[in-house]
């Protein structure tokens, strides 16, 4: 994709990204075909990996690209789960149809919530989002009709589907959410709004003075993330078939999102993918040691923030300058000799872009 | 042996170099002025001496001891006090508390609270007021008083005439010889060249991070200053 301009073309794709695009299509196709070749436990793990990846990408969109650190996204995840209970269990709506509706419900709730939490800034915004999530948790914990504190089961809502069909659709939805969240973040960052979002992260004052409507951008990103979290929440409880306020609104949802993004590489699209892989490897490796995997994860995140704030992908990028999801617009002066690359040191005249 | 000897001092903001091999000396009981256009590196130089910017260890020697790159709070303990650009009084502290914090290291010496009240009587009347709830001139007096409270052997003054009416500037500069008499040398950055030439024993001119002129005021003609100032 390039546009001709008087003194150069604007290019985004890198060799890595062309290769990356191809690989992504192959992977998505392979995952989507799992119901035919994969066995059940592998499918369940892949489903879980993909919806956690979606959560991590959405958290990263807000914090890594927008500078908005929320520790209350589990609030919208919980809402997604409970709207599923309302629609599928109480009103008899097909659970798989209900999943997107749960996302919309979470987004609707996010609108008034945004008006409240955006009165706070920085660390206070973070704790404010947590309080909001607690308000949601306590609200549902007091609705007897939806199972109150002990929660409720969703199995009776699943009767309309055979086992194979249920697991296949669940997997496809997970693939849609995992790949969809990456596509959403990628396309959004390549758009005008992406420019504004990263501008706000770097300097809110300068963004305003250059015509960026800061509150509107923050609001859109907040509601979009809520929509994603709501859908993931619904999918989670389609698979778990049992929901309770303490589980649906558990802070550990946010802990996993944050640690995956921080360890993998905050502010990049590749980072959360690596972070989620590490999370699953660590959880399996320490599976029979109780909560030690969470302790190890927390420790890794703390070490990352101190020693490598740009995470593992940050280290790789500094070393090899690979970009699978190139968002940066680069000027290429005709003919195909690109301008010297920015980044670490001084741009030297003869430095060819390292692919 | 001079009180302060700066030799081949470089300074950087990230990969942007602001000072190029600066050399300068301040003798015991001397008043040295530094002039130069905006962005010539005057404040950067003062911040390096005060320890707010990284510097080569032996690039700055105070009273025979290398202090280059030492942490700011230890340099103050050795007797180098600073009156920062824009005065920077502490808003949530009263005038008296601002002066007391100046004596945080408790270095022995002639300067006490009463001596400062006598030097700047108007401050005594305003002692309970918050540090920033005063006029520019009064704030400047408090900032100088605060630096004196640490009983310095060398006081670094960054643009003390900044934004002040000439009559107030004259009053401030009138107080400085009294300070020197108490055994405190001065290194003064001054935007107002006339004021600098009147007060200083020796003058250095900075231009684009380099010393372009050094000498006694009497030897410096307007043309040499203009050339050093603008680099024509």
């Amino acid at each position: 994709m390039s546009v001709n301009a008087p003194s150069g073309r604007i290019v985004r794709a890198t060799r890595a990204s062309r290769f990356g695009g191809l690989a992504a299509i192959v992977i998505v196709a392979a995952l989507a075909a799992m119901p035919w070749w994969g066995e059940r436990s592998a499918m369940r793990t892949v489903t879980e990996f993909l919806y956690i990846l979606a959560l991590a990408q959405l958290w990263n969109l807000m914090a890594g690209f927008g500078g908005l650190v929320s520790i209350g996204q589990q609030g919208f995840l919980g809402i997604g789960g409970y709207v599923l209970v309302l629609l599928a269990l109480k009103l008899g709506v097909d659970p798989f149809l209900a999943v997107p509706l749960c996302g919309v419900a979470a987004a609707l709730v996010a609108c008034p919530t945004a008006a409240v939490v955006f009165r706070l800034r920085g660390a206070y915004f973070a704790v404010g989002t947590w309080v909001v999530s607690e308000v949601f948790r306590l609200t549902f914990a007091n609705i007897i009709w939806l199972g109150a504190g002990t929660g409720t089961s969703l199995t009776s809502a699943m009767t309309g589907h055979g086992a194979w069909k249920r697991e296949a659709i669940t997997l496809w939805m997970a693939v849609a959410m995992g790949a969809g969240s990456i596509a959403l973040v990628y396309l959004l960052l390549r758009s005008r709004m992406g420019l504004a979002l990263t501008a706000i992260r770097d300097s809110e004052v300068a963004s305003r003075s250059l015509g960026v409507g800061v509150p509107r951008i923050k609001f859109i990103v907040y509601v979009l993330s809520a929509f994603g979290c709501g859908m993931v929440g619904a999918l989670v409880y389609v698979t778990k078939l049992r929901i309770s306020p303490d589980a649906a609104f558990d802070i550990n949802w946010t802990a996993v999102m944050i640690f995956a993004v921080v360890i993998g590489g905050i502010g990049t699209i590749e980072g959360p993918i690596i972070g989620c892989l590490i999370y699953f490897l660590l959880r399996d490796a320490l599976a029979d040691y109780g909560a030690w995997y969470l302790i190890a994860l927390g420790a890794l995140a703390v070490i990352a923030m101190v020693k490598a704030p740009r995470g593992i992908w940050g280290l790789v990028q500094a070393r090899y300058d690979l970009r699978f999801f190139p968002v940066q617009r680069r000027i290429v002066v005709a003919p195909a000799v690109p301008l010297p690359r920015g980044g670490r040191g001084r741009p030297t005249a003869d430095s060819e872009i390292r692919r | 042996m001079s009180l302060l000897a700066v030799d081949r001092l470089d300074a950087f903001y990230g990969d942007f170099q602001a000072l190029f091999g600066v050399g300068l000396e301040v003798g015991e009981g001397e008043i040295v002025a530094v002039i130069g256009a905006n962005g010539a590196g005057k404040s950067t130089f003062l911040r390096s001496v005060a320890g707010l910017l990284a510097a080569r260890r032996d690039a700055i020697v105070f009273a025979g001891q290398p202090i280059g790159g030492a942490p700011a709070h230890t340099i103050v303990g050795m007797g180098v006090a600073m009156v920062p650009e824009g005065r920077k009084l502490f808003p949530s502290l009263s005038v008296e508390e601002n002066l007391r914090i100046g004596a945080y290291r408790g270095r022995p010496g002639p300067w006490t609270l009463d001596r400062v009240w006598r030097l700047f009587p108007r401050l005594a009347e305003r002692r309970r007021v918050s540090g920033t709830a005063m006029s520019g001139g009064e704030q400047q007096m408090a900032a100088i008083g605060r630096a004196l409270m640490s009983n310095p052997r060398l006081m670094l003054c960054d643009e003390i005439s900044l934004g002040l009416a000439p009559v107030v500037v004259r009053e401030l500069y009138a107080a400085l010889p009294g300070v020197v008499a108490e055994g405190c040398s001065l290194l003064v950055i001054e935007q107002d060249i006339g004021q600098a030439l009147r007060i200083a024993d020796r003058v250095y001119c900075f231009q684009e991070g380099r010393v372009t002129l050094a000498g006694r005021p009497a030897e410096l003609t307007r043309e040499r200053i203009a050339a050093a100032y603008f680099g024509a």
Partner: protein, 289 residues
């Protein structure tokens, strides 16, 4: 429904919340640091006191002060060794590091002490109460907690205003760079500030653990109560935090009286109401004029 004793009890509960909040407000006032592990340190101090009193067998009057001292040391080392490295203009590193610590502490306590609920011995204090006539009685423990809260906040206020350390705290809080020009080692001041904050946290933790049972996951909600008391009271003013705690205590007590499930919800809604209608809190300490 005896509303008088409900409100009185809520007000006294506010003393505990003010103690929760004082440590948070101190750390934010001096260092602009919101410690997301604040609630977990409250629980950690309760477990240390429990360990010293019951496992090691020290008398509570020895074990509890010792636990407070240990927490002070923990605060100093935590700031000096770790948090000072990530402090800076960007608010994200300290936030994420303290969040990491919070998750680590909760799960570490889980592995060491298991998930069973525990309680601290209060020497019969929990049950003793004082009759005020007209059938109204208030417990000795809540009264003592309020007394300790007022004493601690008073002591902190005196420290800030009367002492050399207090001057250094306030100067560093106003302008860290200029404070260094006064000869203040601001990194050391940050460590001392966190030590003081965790001493207050330990006092709160022990009183909280005597009052109710606790388990490794009790931390986060304590952080939220502390945060709400600070916001309701107004950022940066310790006395405002006490009033914020009392208001939070009362709203929760009313909520509990109406129906056990929605006590905390009432508190959160009061917090959100203050946030929307008076974001700067009820008693904001106006920065120097």
């Amino acid at each position: 429904m005896d509303w008088v004793s409900v409100i009185l009890e809520g007000a006294l509960l506010g003393g505990l919340y003010a103690l929760f909040a004082a440590g948070l407000s101190l750390a934010f006032g001096i260092m602009r640091l919101v410690n997301l592990a604040h609630g977990d340190f409250i629980v950690v101090s309760a477990y240390i006191a429990l360990f010293l009193a019951q496992t090691v067998g020290l008398h509570p009057l020895v074990a509890y002060p010792l636990a407070v001292a240990i927490m002070g040391l923990v605060g100093f080392l935590l700031q000096r060794g770790l948090l000072n490295r990530v402090m800076g203009d960007d608010i994200m590193p300290p936030l994420l590091v303290t969040f990491g610590i919070s998750i680590m502490l909760q799960n570490l306590l889980l592995q060491i002490f298991s998930a069973d609920t525990r309680g601290l011995v209060g020497g019969g204090l929990q049950t003793a109460s004082l009759a005020l006539g007209h059938g109204i009685a208030i417990g000795w423990l809540p009264l003592l907690t309020m007394g300790v809260a007022v004493a601690v906040i008073g002591a902190l206020q005196l420290l800030m205003v009367r002492t050399r350390l207090g001057l250094a705290f306030r100067a560093t809080s106003d302008d860290q760079t200029t404070a260094r020009l006064m000869g203040i080692d601001t990194r050391l001041i940050y460590a001392v500030a966190m030590a003081v904050a965790l001493v207050v946290v330990a006092i709160a933790g022990i009183l909280f653990a005597i009052r109710t049972t606790f388990d490794p996951a009790s931390g986060p909600s304590r952080l939220i109560f502390a945060f709400e008391a600070v916001i309701i009271g107004g950022m940066g003013s310790l006395w405002g935090t006490l009033v914020g705690g009392i208001i939070l205590g009362i709203t929760q007590a009313i909520g509990f009286a109406l129906s056990p499930g929605i006590g905390l919800l009432f508190g959160h809604l009061a917090f959100l109401a203050v946030l929307v209608f008076r974001p700067q809190g009820l008693f904001p300490r106006t920065r120097g004029a």
